[in-house]
């Protein structure tokens, strides 16, 4: 294989590998902003979207003479995440300097962790427990560092501006082992990771605001090979879907290159979401030497085991445990439980409904159907949803008692979301309550039969689908409010069956 390091000479036969099956190997690096009140090494606020450079001080601006002091809250949140990801916690915490020049990095070094990450050797399981896609993704390390600032390039050009508000926001780097073998697995891992992080309430996890960012390392190799292929670092994916699409593109690109006997260049590539392609950014040959060394301004400290134990015992119920409980306690299917527990706020919403209403499957269906569809189109979290769990329950109770139909309920739900009115008020105001009064229904049926002699005769002569027409007429007569079950019954009786 040494030969393949050189491009093949013109005219010589390329060692093509057409027909070979390839295995994809992916490792992911997630950067997560921790939600602390103040920055990781100074007291500045961390609020998103404030006026540029309004949340800065000599420390996060890296002014000469300023010194970092570790924010204990950031450290504790980092430990919380690490424990939830099944990691081991380092006995001794130390920080290192990662040296490189960039204008968004005011000291021209980043305080990070190098050879002794805060935590290591964890894992996340993806796919539901009994499914074929069940798999353990090992987490190599989780370490704490400081975020950099943001460069702004004004469209008129001439200069670049720096906003240091983001500088010094606590950042966790979560790195997997190369255990991911497809873009879909990468997507599933990220979804599960985000779900856990949301359960911990440690971050906004908002890729658009940059509080969660993901880079990938990807390579391909002939299936069965032990040696890894040359890896490419993929950046600039701004959504989980973007990660999957970018990786899918890379798989195709790399497999096609290798199949043609070409060599993969070790490089960093950017995902261009508009053009749906990856573009070469820089090759690793010019890779930087970060000259890591221990940060002398921060004193290494021994982790208090009792603090770790306390955080561990205080961890909330995590998605998988919650899903298991929902299956056991509420009789949800594995699939439904998986969907419902995917987001902590939805799980909480469901559970609150389930506490006051016995038909859990119906609750789950409503949440997974109309409600999630609505939230998705509006890109809205359920916490901002207009309909409280109690309101959904009262709507479902009206269906159970037969006072409204399922179809009506959908309309009521839509209106309740828009107007924030109580479902029972909407029903009362619109006179929507279902007619289940047999006397009234008898009258309506008789009136319709009298007006539609032809259809009655058709039915009696064996054209059974005339029945549907008659039902439709009755529903029309009652403005859709007739209880359909009772209508059927009364109609058939009047038709002499």
């Amino acid at each position: 294989m040494e030969k393949s390091a050189k491009p093949p000479r013109k005219g010589s036969a390329k060692p093509t590998r057409k027909g070979t099956n390839y295995e994809t190997v992916i490792g992911l690096e997630v950067h997560l902003q921790l939600k602390t009140n103040s920055k990781v090494f100074c007291g500045c606020a961390t609020t998103f979207g404030k006026a540029p450079n309004s949340q800065t001080c000599p420390v996060c601006l890296g002014f000469p003479g300023s010194l970092p002091v570790l924010n204990e809250a950031a450290f504790l949140l980092a430990v919380k995440v690490a424990l939830a990801l099944n990691c081991k916690i380092q006995d001794l915490i130390k920080f290192d300097r990662k040296n490189y020049y960039y204008p968004d990095l005011p000291k021209n070094f980043q305080i990070s962790q190098y050879d002794m990450p805060l935590s290591y050797d964890g894992f996340i399981d993806i796919g539901s427990e009994s499914s074929f896609s069940r798999k353990r993704i090992r987490i190599k390390r989780v370490h704490l560092e400081e975020d950099a600032g943001k460069l702004i390039h004004p469209p008129e050009g001439g200069c670049s501006l720096v906003d240091f508000n983001r500088t010094g926001i606590p950042l966790l780097e979560i790195v997997t082992e190369p255990d991911i073998n497809s873009p879909q697995e990468a997507y599933d891992y990220l979804t599960r990771l985000k779900s856990i992080l949301e359960y911990l309430r440690v971050s906004d996890c908002d890729m658009e605001k940059g509080s969660l960012r993901c880079d990938a390392n990807i390579s391909v190799r002939p299936a069965g090979d032990n040696a890894l292929g040359t890896k490419v670092e993929l950046k600039n994916m701004n959504t989980f879907k973007g990660v999957r699409l970018g990786l899918e593109y890379e798989v195709k690109r790399q497999v096609s290159l290798v199949s043609d006997g070409e060599r993969i260049v070790q490089e960093t590539r950017l995902w261009d979401a508009d053009k749906s392609v990856t573009i070469s950014m820089r090759s690793k040959e010019e890779a930087k030497d970060y000259r890591y060394f221990p940060e002398p301004d921060l004193v290494p400290f021994v982790v208090d085991k009792s603090v770790v134990e306390k955080i561990k015992s205080g961890l909330p119920e995590l998605p998988e445990a919650k899903a298991k409980r929902f299956i056991k306690d509420f009789g949800l299917s594995e699939y439904d439980a998986g969907v419902i527990t995917g987001q902590i706020d939805i799980a909480d919403y469901f559970e609150e409904c389930a506490r006051s209403h016995g038909n859990r499957k119906t609750i789950a269906n409503w949440i997974m159907g109309d409600i999630m569809a609505y939230l998705n189109t509006k890109n809205m979290p359920i916490t901002a949803f207009g309909l409280a769990p109690a309101a959904l329950v009262s709507l479902l109770k009206m269906i159970d008692s037969g006072s409204i139909s399922g179809k009506m309920a959908k309309d009521v739900l839509a209106e309740a979301i828009e107007t924030k009115a109580k479902p029972e008020d909407i029903v009362a105001r619109k006179g929507l309550a279902q007619i289940s009064d047999s006397g009234k229904l008898e009258e309506a049926v008789k009136a319709v039969l009298a007006r539609n002699e032809k259809s009655v005769n058709d039915y009696k002569s064996g054209k059974k689908n005339a029945l549907a027409f008659l039902v439709g007429q009755i529903m029309k007569e009652t403005k859709g409010a007739a209880n359909p079950v009772m209508v059927n019954e009364i109609l058939k009786r009047n038709l002499g069956e």
Binding site: F63, G65, L67, Y292, F293
Partner: protein, 480 residues
Amino acid sequence: MENLHSLTAHELKELMASSPVEPSKILGDVLKRVDALDGKIRAFALVNRDGARKACASAKGGGRLSGIPVLMKDNICVAGEETTCASRILKGFKPPYDATVTRKLKEDGAVLIGKANMDEFAFGSSCETSCYGATRNPWDLDRIPGGSSGGSAAAVAADETIVALGSDTGGSIRQPAALCGVVGMKPTYGRVSRYGLIAFASSLDQIGPITKDVKDASLLLGVIAGHDEMDSTSVDLPVPDYTKSLTKDIKGVRVGVPKEYFVKGIDREVEDSVKKAIGVLKDLGAEVIDISLPHTGYAVSTYYIIGPAEASSNLARFDGVQYGLRDSTAKDIIGMYTRTRSEGFGDEAKRRILLGTYCLSAGYYDAYYLKALKVRTKIREDFDNAFKSCDCIVTPTSPTPAFRIGEKTDDPIAMYLSDVYTIPANLAGLPAMSIPCGFSSGGLPVGLQIMAKPFDEEMIFRVAYAFEQSTDFHKKRPRL
């Protein structure tokens, strides 16, 4: 009252307590002295007359140093006052905040009179690498005052200030104190907050006093010492009243004399003065013990790896983006960095940045930086072992008296070796002081170094004061 500038802080405090001497009168006298002398000594990077006058007006009487003029080394931040580390790259930089030591002095009522000249970024032992030009030794204007706190030491020796602050990374307080015939102390690493001290080597730097006598040093250290939440490396221990250590009694104190400090390279007159000084301590009742610090020979090499390595990273921030010099003729960011740093840093700064960058680079880290950390541990262990049998260690501060300006500028190694006796205390984090202990035949001062266990500054004050009070070296002043 004439010649207020020639008094010590404690003498002035006594004077103020017993007669109506206003701080403004002391300041006026000191500034007159500066005006008369600094043209030839060049100890000041900046004289802050207005700020000092305002401080006098508001100086309350209660503080230990209220009304006393203090000169700050130019690498210690004073809010709104140009702080340059004697480097072109920081020209015009006015920090928006006070260093913790600055704040403490202001709160105490001290009168900050300006900024002292220094070797650029504290890189040097001669005060010749400053962008403001070389400071002269008040004892011989053709000679260097030592460095890097050369401006602070020269100003104290020439009575251009009452006391001064310096910073010491490898001897930068003690060596110029020795060469200028004054008292200079590097406290234990962690004793004084480094917040607002523009870092050279974060794991070695300490701020400390440069004064005319031991008592002033004990007063000044008392004001600036103590734990600071803004500096994680400052240690949370109570600050003793150091003046209580000035008892003159050193009977039974075990004084260690390391054989490795009296070898080839030491000036004969320096050796004689130091040996006589040891004799004085013995006469005062101290028990003198021969000790060994076997890894002493590796200290300079170790220091010149760790110091530059940390410096190369600490100085990376001087890039023209936010403050100080910026070369705006460059077309891109790399060009701006390169030109700004090429123009802004002097030769010695560049040399140390290159050294440090090299030592930390992939492939060299283990052989240089990591190895140096290991040797540093060995040097620390040397001291731990030595202090099992002694209470303090005395050595020469510098192997030679002040050398001539320009004598070693072309020979960095020779220059580096002038810190051979002071560097170990920085590597081990120990407190150490230089006090005057004699003069060469040419009339140049010689310093005695006293080191003690971590956070045992009291032992140093005790021994230093006893020695000082039984000798007259500290009373001698240069003729100017």
